[in-house]
Assembly symmetry: C4
Homo-oligomer: 280 residues x 4
């Protein structure tokens, strides 16, 4: 196990050149935020913008469209359409990376979209409900899984993916992480105190950055957004995930200087830019 260190990031993957145009900063697509969990989409996309994504499209539940425009007019946002798969395909085609899951829901239509996304073989962040879909329908991954994915389960989601109990995950987080990398052959970030990050290789990074301010709903959605931005820029799953874990946790530390209790995911997003400035 290696400690995640602020000195270990290949920052040249993420920096901009003076003559870059917006396409060079990476194009991302976010899919999620169905009714009842619409806020997840807002949190993730805002974090993605603050992490420097060049162009961001989003397909979200109807209730999330106008709030997203209001908060972040920079996102090209559309509500789910009747021909959702076609809609996803059109936007995904032009994207460097995709994030799917936060607030997606686990209905049959959600399953179909996840399948569509996986078949594109693009760098893809899989979180929250998209992980639950993989637990519920293992055949999805068997048929369409690929190594250019990043999965970011919390212990309960990890337990479901591994068909074990959450206590077993917590008892030996390292083994759980290794099992996930073995089973899915892609980049894994196991959430919790002492975040673990690993790829196919027998190589696990642990991050002790961050604090208990992160024990608040929506913090994971922000992480998804950060990973999406770095993935769209670099297309490098493991390095994007490591850097995002660091930036996310440091931004939470910064944000919680004004108080740990009552620190919100949106406060964290507002600190991402500063942390990146000092890191990249």
């Amino acid at each position: 196990v290696k400690l995640l260190s602020p000195h270990s990031f290949p920052t040249e993957l993420f920096r901009r050149n003076p003559t870059d145009h917006k396409g060079d900063s990476g194009r991302g697509l976010f899919i999620g935020g169905s009714d009842g969990t619409s806020g997840a989409a807002l949190l993730a996309c805002e974090a993605s913008l603050r992490s420097g994504i060049g162009l961001l499209s989003a397909i979200v539940g109807k209730n999330a469209v106008q709030p997203m425009l209001t908060r972040t007019p920079e996102v090209m946002v559309r509500g789910y359409e009747s021909d959702l798969q076609n809609q996803v395909n059109l936007l995904a085609e032009k994207s460097d990376a995709i994030a799917i899951g936060p607030g997606l829901g686990i209905e049959a239509s959600a399953k179909k979209i996840l399948e569509t996304v996986l078949t594109l073989k693009k760098p893809t962040l899989i979180d929250a409900d998209a992980l639950n879909l993989l637990s519920k329908y293992p055949e999805l991954w068997d048929a369409h899984g690929h190594e250019h994915c990043v999965m970011t389960p919390h212990p309960l989601e990890a337990a479901r993916l591994l068909n074990i109990s959450v206590e077993q995950v917590e008892l030996d987080r390292f083994s759980a992480c290794m099992e996930l990398t073995k089973k899915f052959g892609c980049t894994i970030l196991l959430k919790g105190s002492g975040t673990l990050i690993s790829k196919k290789q027998n190589n696990v990074f642990v991050s002790y950055f961050g604090n208990e301010a992160m024990a608040t709903g929506g913090m994971g959605d922000v992480l998804s957004g950060v990973i999406l931005a770095f993935l769209a820029k670099s297309r490098n799953c493991i390095e994007s995930t490591k850097l995002a874990a660091f930036v996310h946790a440091m931004a939470a530390e910064q944000a919680s200087n004004q108080g740990i209790i009552g620190c919100l995911p949106t406060d964290v997003s507002n600190n991402i830019r500063l942390v990146i400035k000092e890191t990249l």
Copy 2:
């Protein structure tokens, strides 16, 4: 009567541990904010988030859904559905505490929801229209009332609950508060200059924190939100109420440093985090 003092709070009930996850910070459910008084829901939920609630769900009038997503994407918000009771039951089951009342309305459907909530016997904050419902339908409390409730009437609501005039309440606020604790057998916070807080025991606390900046509509909704957060974390009605009264009033004092006239409930919410930081 005891003076509420900043040194008297059992803060271990509200602090977080470094390894806590979001569930440990408490799960709350807010119900209210019907059309015409939708803002009450927004004010209460925002205050709850700033008071450190771990996960917050809300069931609100249709007009409040998108504004709440826009202001506080951290809330998992849903509009009232046709099968509202079932909706409430599903979300309440997973909650550590419930707040009901601000902007709820007093229609028959509102009565039915209040009944549903009371039967769950969870730590419950009852304010505004939910108090008016208890005045209008005393049989509700007779059948389903329980001690894990906090009621936060202003003098007029107190008068209605006790079937006396508001002048009688104002004439002897202490007696009115004691009558309420006797009648309902739960925690009572009687609003007004010199806020009174009491539980079953013959034990009344008075708070002189706060100032005339609080003589503005919506300040009570903020208090409801603060109580909900502390209740979800500690499940302790009297201590949550005492701490919330203090935090709310101190946040108002802080906020009114920039001017008493024109100080708004949202300004108070923005100061909650700082006050908690200095208190807990």
Copy 3:
């Protein structure tokens, strides 16, 4: 003509006492903000809150409801209903003062509402489209006009009210103002560089506060909101108007310190509280 001076305000009319409750701070009702000019309602209500109104209700066009909730959840806002007159009556009855006009429109339904409002004989601010309605239908004022009104025309609106040309107004603003007070027998504020304020008495005040940052659409809506707040608190038309003119102009001066060009009405609103703090 007397110069408006910061030392001339009977501030005891507007101050709060330590034991005041929200009702003591004044209850206001705003009516306006139809589709196409919805923003006027948002600007006016926000300014009213920042001027210390205790409770604010608003009846606005459908498009303005959710934006108002999002910006200022403190307002109890409702969209125009089919039985608009009844809706207005119910809310107006409980109000200390009413503001009508900004973004109201001049359709037949708007005329009917203005008539309803005038018949209530409450302290009433009449601006923008409500002034245009009075120009178009002089019989409205003849039948229902009363002295507890404040009218705030800009030169073009004044010209229409007096059936003269705008050039004639500009040529002798003092005479125009006097003509308006004579014709309507209520408080008049004639906008423009060198704002004139007068009541029935042969007594005109001129204000030279403010600057060219105010040459931006929406500044008048802010003024309407400030007047409404002071009117609801004091019910004194002439003193509310004088104080509001001063506070509004000083807030604009403060706001424009960060740049005159690009200074917006919402910037002015954000400075009202500070100016009041220093004035009252």
Copy 4:
């Protein structure tokens, strides 16, 4: 080629006089922001307000109406109506300048609106989809084009307008810019690192202000808004474009002081006022 210099602007064209009223600051109309690209309208209009436009109307897709009211209640915004051409004519008639394009779409209805706007012969900013429409339907310009237009293509849009490849544009940006001025006989701003600005005369200005923070989606929409404001005030195409390019780039430099990666168009808008204060 001349270097754009902060000392070269005829600032008297853009300054306000102490006795100006809102009409003197310029009336603008923005048309764009259809569903899926609604945010472009929000970004442009916000920038226009921050650049000092006196009165701003907007005709936008339905999804953009309430977000625009929420973010910038100063805009008189309407959703596309069924009789869109009539709607455009009514508002355009009262405007000093028009901006059309960002998020407009390229459907037949969009083409019809662009035609309507061009026939009015008012100072007009043409960007984004409006440029794409001119590429797709060259007959539009042949029939209705006029010199009081400003076109702001990025290299890909320039390539389409000239029927050459984007590589050819990038290879000799100067020639491409001159070709565009020759072909359209109006003011051209060719985006990219080393922005080029030219009018009919054989006279090209180059701006090296700005930095890689601008390599983010939505930055061009902000520029459109700035140009609209200056055009509405001065009706001078070339001077408005030169000043806007400078102000936009300097505001981006200011905004990016807090971090280049994650700097957003809305951050740039928030810095426009300060830059104008120091420039005009």
